[in-house]
Amino acid sequence: MQQATTAPGLDRSLAERISHETYYQTVFRRFRRHRPGFISLIFLGLMLLLIAVTPLLSPYGPNQITSAFSAMPSAEHWLGTDQVGRDMLTRLMTGSGISLFVALLATVVSTLLGVLLGLAAGYFGGWIDIIIMRVTDIVMSFPYLLLVLVAAAIFGPGMWNIVLILGFVNWPGMARLVRSNVMSLRGVNYVQGSQVAGMPTIYILFKEILPNTIAPVLIYATSVMAQTMLDEAALSFLGMGVQAPTASLGNLLNVAQSYTILETKPWMWLPPGLMTILLVVAVNFIGDALRDAFDPRNLQ
């Protein structure tokens, strides 16, 4: 942080503070400077809070049927109701929660898989590397959605299956990323030192190599999560994802396949569509902010 101490006009106490902060404090300070990213983080936090309190505040259950069918937005139903009389706002919030949950869990699954396989391929090399990388090639040379659709048709649609399917097809990118990072870290002095000192492989992998690839893994994971949200929406829209009556952003949009609803009842499909865009944009911006925050060339 040479700039922090020499930049003219910089408050001395600030410079002092910056030079004493921990790595993650630096990262957070830089993250905050990325305005769209920081706003997205607040927005996402706020949405999670709203989703959490929806069951307490809403007078309707997400699957509860009221007497108003296909009602326009009104004082009782702020976003109207669907064809069977369920409150759209309650379903929108519940559905957003489910979609975020599915995307987060699938991202965790694929990140774990990708990191483990990438570590193994990059560190051990040889035939382990060859096999893992060939499998990666195979999974990657499938048109992604086709693979997901076939898998969903086979294992049956449903929330937990979608989590697993999206998790299991999304790891190759992560595995490649981790592998190339590990391969460059393998030659670094402290790793070679530990090898010479006879440290256990597990220790070297998880205590020395993994912490140094956390930044790219986190950044990549946000883009996987954004993609997973879009895929869940597409799958549920096609009827192969989260199944009714459970609401998700994609299956709320399912009704819009009917032109009558598309034309005359925009309150049924516009809010879930816009919500999907907002959430995905927020996740993407957070990823972008993380990229800036972790970038060692960033001297702010």
Partner: protein, 315 residues
């Protein structure tokens, strides 16, 4: 060079075999397609007879081997549902998808290349921010939602454009009619891939501009314009080739959703119906076709790399 191409081809073969094995065995987990036929009027004996006729009573390994043997001879079996050869069904549906994908590919590159390069050359300018933000938001829009919105405005509200099929039913084929049918699906498809492309080209271009040879070119004092046109753009060919390769699987995936919304009579629609009907031979055929296309795209990318970049050692 020829050795390099041959070597790449040889590597592609085990990958392709792996794909067919993965495909076949995952599908065998799906359960029997005969389940779809079970009804009150069909006797157990009739089902067994039909299963034997289709070879479904044999062990899965034997089934796979039989399929593979036939596939080597260009016979991909018959669709369970429609009793037509898989190759013929695919052949009937391939042209509309090629049309849709090809036009989208060309248009998206025509937009992404200048936008990405402009954005990189004018990094941190207002236009750069606008292009990057737009591409970010653009790639966050679910393509089916965009498709629905387009249908809502341009078909239902304004009535300007047709929203389903390739031709207007009951009229003689005309070029303008088909072109009008293409506007919405192609538009949505271009929109859904162009954001990623712009960001990729921008990032690669920025990387090129940081290279030593560009600093040298600048130091020679030949002027900014010539530095960019002569030294930077030529090197931007590599990322552009990469994007062409990357696009193919993306467009394939996109076509499944977009063809569904716009009832476009192509491979995507065929795929969706084969999946819903658990039509094994047809699913196998479509997945294999898409995998082959992707592998060929990768191969062509690698070969073009070797041609464009003389520093790549192809041995």
């Amino acid at each position: 060079m020829i050795r390099y191409i041959l070597k790449r081809l040889l590597i592609a073969i085990p990958v392709l075999l792996g794909i067919t094995i993965l495909d076949y065995f995952i599908m065998s987990l799906a359960g029997n397609p005969m389940e779809m036929m079970i009804g009150p009027r069909i006797t157990q004996a009739a089902i067994e007879e039909r299963a034997a006729l289709l070879g479904l009573d044999k062990p899965i390994l034997v089934q796979y081997w039989n399929w593979l043997k036939e596939a080597m001879q260009g016979n991909f079996g018959y669709s369970f549902k429609q009793n037509l050869a898989v190759t013929r069904l695919i052949g009937n549906n391939v042209a509309p998808t090629v049309l849709l994908m090809g036009l989208s590919l060309v248009l998206s590159m025509l937009i992404a290349i200048p936008a990405g390069i402009y954005s990189a050359v004018h990094q941190y300018s207002k236009t750069d921010y606008a292009i990057v933000t737009a591409s970010f938001i653009g790639s966050s829009v679910p393509s089916f939602f965009l498709a629905l919105t387009m249908v809502y405005f341009f078909n239902l509200r304004l009535g300007w454009l047709p929203s389903s099929g390739m031709t207007t039913l009951g009229t003689a084929w005309s070029l303008t009619d088909t072109l009008r049918h293409m506007v919405l699906p192609v538009g949505v498809m271009v929109f859904s891939v162009v954001g990623v492309n712009i960001r990729y080209i921008r990032a690669s271009m920025l990387e090129i501009m940081e290279q030593d040879y560009l600093r040298t070119a600048k130091a020679k004092g030949i002027g900014r314009r010539r530095v960019i046109n002569k030294h930077a753009l030529r090197n931007a060919l590599l990322p552009i080739i990469t994007i062409f390769g990357m696009q193919i699987p993306m467009l394939f995936s996109g076509s499944v959703v977009i063809e569904q919304v716009f009832s476009w009579p192509g491979l995507g629609l065929l795929t969706m119906s084969s999946i819903l009907n658990r039509d094994y031979p047809l699913i196998m055929g479509v997945s294999l076709l898409s995998a082959v296309v992707v592998l060929i795209a990768n191969l062509v990318t690698d070969i073009l790399y070797a041609i464009v970049d003389p520093t790549i050692q192809y041995t």
